[in-house]
């Protein structure tokens, strides 16, 4: 075996190093007694993880240069685009890590926070494999590595009933979706005799109905992680029950990574034959996802549940980039996910710092927030504006580009799809503005007293709000993505 092939996995190796360092530190680092408890906690693990991961994120940007490489017998592939996708995820994970510091410093989380970080890094590793996989076995390993530890993370609030319920629902649905996915794969293997992406594409039997069923099962399996309707039902309960850090991780990182992997699978494996079939299937799923997500979102009074449904409909918009299947829509999708990371994490950042302080997550508690905590309210407002796509914030441009990418296909069906998506943005505007209205227009006394948020929480909010504003103004980011995608995956 040629060990130099490992050199292609620069980012994976980097991530592994970070993981191992955190793990070793957790094993050997000094511990101190937590006040008011007989348990002991590791010192400074949060800071070390964040710093290490920040360094690694910076390192990741040096991996974007170089040629496309296909190694390990064609199982693993990396290109500048793939590296960039991983970097986008890194940025999101870094923000999630910073946001979770405060929660991780709380009792009883402080005793087991190291495990939390380790689990998170492992899932990220799984997502990397999913994105880079060019063979379904590696893909499944990645998928499972990204799914199973997440169940443990969802259950991290050991003492909370909702957290358990969420974890059980999550793992049940995850296993079920894996089963369906594998069933689809076995069909594929049976029909084509291979699990390599390119070979499946070559060997595909023209006009086989079986393969379409297999494709639908694969789609369902990945659709679970993306929470496409009708595979989304777990989302609301899990998002609500899971600790907020995990929810934000689920809603942006897990979703973003899967979206890229989904695109690769669809375009590379099924794109060659029956491209019409998968496009129409996805077409229906997108309409359902955006609409149903919106329809449920307007009923929610719990912020986390509300953002769960909002993220369902956002996933529908992301899928517009997949269905466009051209260079521009790939760039638009990368940009969309980047913007979505910033916007959604800004919202979760606010929710989290309020929850850490007061334990309140109901939308009604946010009434009059602008008077007691104007800065948090402002950050939340920008996040909502960006999610709804109001110019000049980044969300407007990301929606604009992804619509343009879809319209570039030029078929009537695409115009109809974009029209439906546009109508749905009006609906979404309603519920996003409900939050803003509660915070700014309601003149009731706010339940949430004025408080000073913690340094780490602020840092994360500054980063995300800065991203929301800057990504809207600085055209360089999108342009460089566009240049990058001219050399496709």
């Amino acid at each position: 075996m040629d060990y130099s092939q490992f050199l292609a996995m620069k980012q994976e190796i980097g991530l592994l190093v970070v993981f191992l360092l955190v793990f070793l530190y957790d094993l050997f680092a000094p511990r101190y007694a937590v006040a008011g408890s007989d348990k002991k906690a590791v010192k400074g693990i949060s800071t070390i993880t964040v710093v290490l991961f920040a360094l690694y994120t910076v390192y990741g940007f040096f991996c974007t240069v170089g040629d496309a490489q296909l190694v390990f017998g064609g199982m693993y592939s990396t290109t500048p685009v793939v590296a960039t996708i991983k970097n986008i995820l890194n940025v999101g994970v870094l923000i999630v890590l910073i946001q979770s510091m405060q929660w991780n410093a709380s009792e009883p989380q402080i005793m087991r926070r190291a495990e939390f970080y380790e689990l998170m890094l492992i899932t990220l590793f799984g997502m990397y494999l999913m994105i880079s996989a060019r063979h379904f076995l590696l893909f499944v390993i990645g998928l499972e590595a990204a799914s199973l530890p997440l169940a443990a993370m969802v259950a991290f609030d050991k003492n909370k009933y909702e957290s358990h319920e969420a974890a059980v629902k999550y793992i049940l649905t995850a296993l079920f979706s894996s089963a369906i996915f594998m069933l689809g794969l076995s069909f594929v293997y049976g029909l084509t005799g291979t699990l390599y992406f390119d070979k499946i594409a070559e060997a595909s039997v023209e006009g086989s109905g079986m393969l379409i069923v297999a494709m639908a099962f694969v789609m369902a399996g990945i659709g679970f992680k993306l929470s496409l309707v009708p595979f989304h039902l777990w989302t609301a309960d899990v998002y609500q029950g899971a600790p907020t850090s995990v929810t934000s991780y689920l809603s942006v990182i897990s979703k973003g990574a899967t979206a890229f992997a989904f695109m690769v699978v669809m375009v590379q494996v099924f794109g060659q034959f029956y491209s019409a079939a998968w496009e129409w299937m996805l077409y229906g799923l997108i309409i359902l996802t955006i609409t149903v997500g919106n329809l449920f979102a307007i009923r929610q009074r719990n912020m986390k549940r509300f953002l769960a449904f909002s993220s369902v409909s956002q996933a529908g918009y992301i899928m517009l980039g997949v269905i466009g299947a051209n260079d521009m829509s790939l760039a638009a999708m990368m940009f969309y996910i980047l913007v979505y990371i910033f916007s959604n994490l800004a919202a979760f950042g606010v929710i989290q710092s309020i929850e850490n302080k007061t334990g309140l997550v109901g939308m009604d508690s946010y009434r009059g927030l602008s008077k007691t905590n104007p800065r948090l309210a402002f950050a939340m407002m920008l996040a909502m504006f960006s999610l709804a796509g109001i110019p000049p914030f980044a969300g407007f441009f990301s929606k604009f580009f992804i619509f343009t990418g879809a319209l570039n296909v030029g078929t009537t069906a695409m115009y109809v799809l974009v029209l439906i998506a546009l109508i749905n943005t009006i609906v979404s505007l309603y519920y996003y503005l409900l939050v803003v209205k509660a915070m700014y227009i309601s003149d009731e006394e706010c339940e949430i007293a004025t408080f000073k948020s913690k340094c780490s929480e602020r840092l994360a909010l500054v980063i995300t709000v800065g991203g929301i504003i800057l990504l809207g103004i600085v055209s360089v980011v999108y342009n460089s993505l566009l240049v990058l995608t001219e050399n496709p995956v």
């Binding site: 049940l172 649905t173 069923v213 329809l295 055209s475």
Partner: protein, 670 residues
């Protein structure tokens, strides 16, 4: 030239705006004033250096001695389709370098001056002092961005920013209803004009297939260097070859494009009939009037025409009427504003009308500028007058501000006889009056002489007309001067309440601008600013000069007779032309006319049907949307049961329907 230094000219005011706007409330009033002023001072020095390098380093002149356009940088900002994109950049050419100097100089003077002006007599700062400085910086940033624009869309963006900051500053005293309505009026009127501007931009870019000034009017002669040359410029070629010649409602498309763009310029430069906002804009603080409504923003329209002047030239050669329209509008406005200025009581309004009239001079000068007459003397004269006018009009406004600050009233009836109390203000104001009246050797003489000479060379009618207006200018300025500084003194001005010269922050700018207003006519403009960069040696046309000098002196003489001491002559004159006086006093009923048109005609025939449409059709659609959404949302709420078994059921069903359904559809229908 390095790009960083010129870039600072834009970045510094923007940073000042952000800093003072965001953190101003943590600063003391005093320090925010000092910081704002220093920031502007540094910007001014950099702008001077940039202009100096441009004009005198010799790097931007070609072998034939022509001054070239230099693109310091040009960054693509928004890519539209095809080759069409919108850039943000920084263009240095004779007129943008000139404007950099003008804008930063006046802005700095105003920043300095406001330190004194925005306080009451006890030295207590006005509320919102930091906000005032933040807005001043925002304005400076926008105006500088406008003048260095490399393309017409960038210009449009900053054009609107300038309008917005003007709105903010006119409405600075937002608790005063008149200031609020004045700011709204200014915004709406200029915005209406900008509608024409935008359509003009679109039509023009449709003709030339570019937004970029350089590709419209110039040809490249090296790295970042362009030579204004209408015969080989690509935009002009495209325009002539393509659609520009098509006729539409009696004018070629190109003429329409230029006239519509000029409409935008008419709005900002307060040309008749879109001038109505400028007199009301005097509700803003006086330094603002000096900066925005006298020296910089209001000449943006002139600058716009000058920027596109090569296209106007092409249009003229093709038989289009765009330049003639500029001339006629300018000439009518000049006379109108000068007549009205003779009858106003509020000294700021007199100055406002005088500004309108003087800008109209610049427009006329551009309008009569033709290729065959004295190498486009008019273009150079217009820019020259823009420069000198900015200096002496800012001086006059700042002087007026000092007077208003001293007596707490805008009307000359409250002033009278102030020459002994406020000697510095008196002398500098007199310098301003002499300059605007065109008395040798003050600066206004030189620039006005060039304008009249170019009129003289082009059309006798324009020349006689503009000479008479020049005479009126001298008359109303000296009327104002005598009514303020001479005539009989008020009793209230005795004792310790007597008005006196203001603190140094206010008098220093007056003195500096006074000196500048005397000497800036000596700048060899014709060698520095010409439409195609080709320098020529202008000389004073003594025929024209002596006639205009004579006219001015006679006018000043009449003003002296009538207003130096209280006498019955003004009343007699008034009764001699009662109608004319009444009309002029009411600004020829333009405001009433607009009121009638908007309230009676537009509101009833357009707004009401639109309101009905909005309330019933648009709102109805939206309500229906909301109702359907709500119903649907209610109907499907059961899907989310919270029951994990049913989730899995739906999941499985979904997968089966997705696969089975697609197979079925494909095999049944294809």
């Amino acid at each position: 030239m390095e790009a960083t230094l010129p870039l600072l000219i834009l970045v510094l005011p923007l940073l000042m705006f952000l800093f003072l706007g965001l953190f101003g409330k943590y600063l003391s009033h005093k320090w925010s004033g000092i910081i704002g002023t220093l920031g502007m001072g540094v910007t001014m020095v950099i702008a001077y250096y940039t202009a100096y390098t441009y004009f005198f380093s010799g790097d931007f002149v070609d072998a034939a001695g022509n001054r070239l356009q230099y693109v310091v940088f040009d960054q693509q900002w928004l890519s539209l389709w095809g080759d069409l994109s919108i850039n943000l950049g920084f263009l240095l050419d004779p007129i943008s370098a000139l404007m950099l100097v003008v804008v930063t100089t006046i802005s700095f003077m105003v920043h300095l001056y406001s330190n004194g002006y925005m306080r009451d007599h006890h030295g207590v700062y006005e509320t919102g002092f930091q906000r005032f400085y933040a807005f001043l910086s925002l304005f400076s940033f926008s105006m500088l961005g406008l003048v260095v624009a490399t393309n017409i869309f960038q210009m449009y963006i900053f054009w609107e920013l300038v309008g917005a900051s003007s709105y903010l500053l006119i409405g600075f005293y937002y608790t005063k209803p008149s200031a609020v309505s004045a700011s709204k009026k200014a915004f709406i009127v200029t915005r209406f004009a900008d509608l024409g501007f935008l359509i003009g931009i679109l039509v023009l870019s449709y003709c030339t297939e570019t937004f970029n000034f350089m590709s419209m009017t110039s040809s490249s002669v090296g790295e970042g260097l362009y030579h204004v040359d209408v015969t080989s410029a690509e935009g002009v070629k495209t325009m002539i070859e393509s659609r520009a010649g098509q006729m539409f409602l009696g004018g070629s498309i190109m003429t329409w494009a230029l006239v519509l763009i000029f409409m935008g310029g008419m709005g900002k430069s307060a040309m008749m009939p879109l001038h109505i906002w400028l007199p009301d804009a005097m509700e803003g603080p006086t330094p603002v009037s000096a900066l925005i409504h006298a020296a910089t923003m209001v000449v943006a329209g002139v600058y716009l025409v000058a920027r596109l002047f090569p296209l106007f030239m092409v249009n003229e050669l093709a038989g289009g009427a765009a330049l003639d329209i500029v001339t006629v509008v300018g000439a009518l406005t000049a006379a109108y504003a000068a007549i009205v200025a003779c009858t106003q009581v509020d000294i700021k309004r007199v100055l406002a009308f005088s500004t309108i009239s003087q800008i109209a001079f610049m427009m006329v000068s551009l309008g009569v500028s033709r290729g065959d007459v004295g190498e486009n003397l008019g273009y150079m004269a217009s820019m020259f007058h823009l420069f000198t006018h900015a200096m002496f009009k800012a001086l006059l406004f700042l002087g007026a501000g000092a007077l208003i600050h001293a007596v707490s009233s805008n009307d000359y009836t409250a002033m009278h006889g102030l020459r002994k109390h406020m000697p510095i203000t008196h002398i500098t104001f007199l310098i301003g009056c002499l300059a605007i009246a065109g008395i040798i050797p003050f600066s206004g003489f030189f620039s006005k002489d060039e304008i009249l000479a170019s009129c003289f060379g082009n059309s006798m009618v324009a020349y006689v007309w503009m000479s008479l207006v020049a005479g009126l200018t001298a008359f109303y300025m000296f009327r104002l001067y005598y009514l303020i500084f001479w005539w009989k003194e008020h009793k209230v001005h005795e004792g310790h309440h007597a008005p006196k010269d203001q603190p140094w922050t206010m008098t220093l700018p007056l003195i500096i601008l006074g000196v500048v207003a005397i000497f800036c006519g000596l700048v060899p403009f014709s060698e520095m600013v010409t439409w195609n960069g080709h320098p020529h040696h202008a000389h004073i046309n003594w025929t024209v000069a002596s006639v205009s000098l004579a006219v001015s002196i006679v006018a000043i003489g009449i003003a002296t007779l009538m207003y130096r001491k209280e006498n019955s002559l003004p009343a007699k004159m008034r009764s001699l032309f009662p109608r004319l006086w009444q009309g002029a006093h009411h600004r020829f009923y333009f405001d009433e006319l607009y009121m009638f048109i908007t309230h009676k005609i537009i509101f009833n025939s357009i707004c009401k049907p639109i309101a009905w449409f909005d309330r019933h059709i648009i709102d109805g659609t939206m309500d229906a949307f909301a109702a359907i959404t709500n119903k649907a949302s209610y109907a499907i709420r059961g899907l989310q049961s919270g029951n994990a078994q049913s989730y899995v059921w739906v999941y499985l069903l979904g997968a089966l329907v997705l696969g089975g359904g697609t197979v079925a559809i494909i095999f049944l229908f294809f």
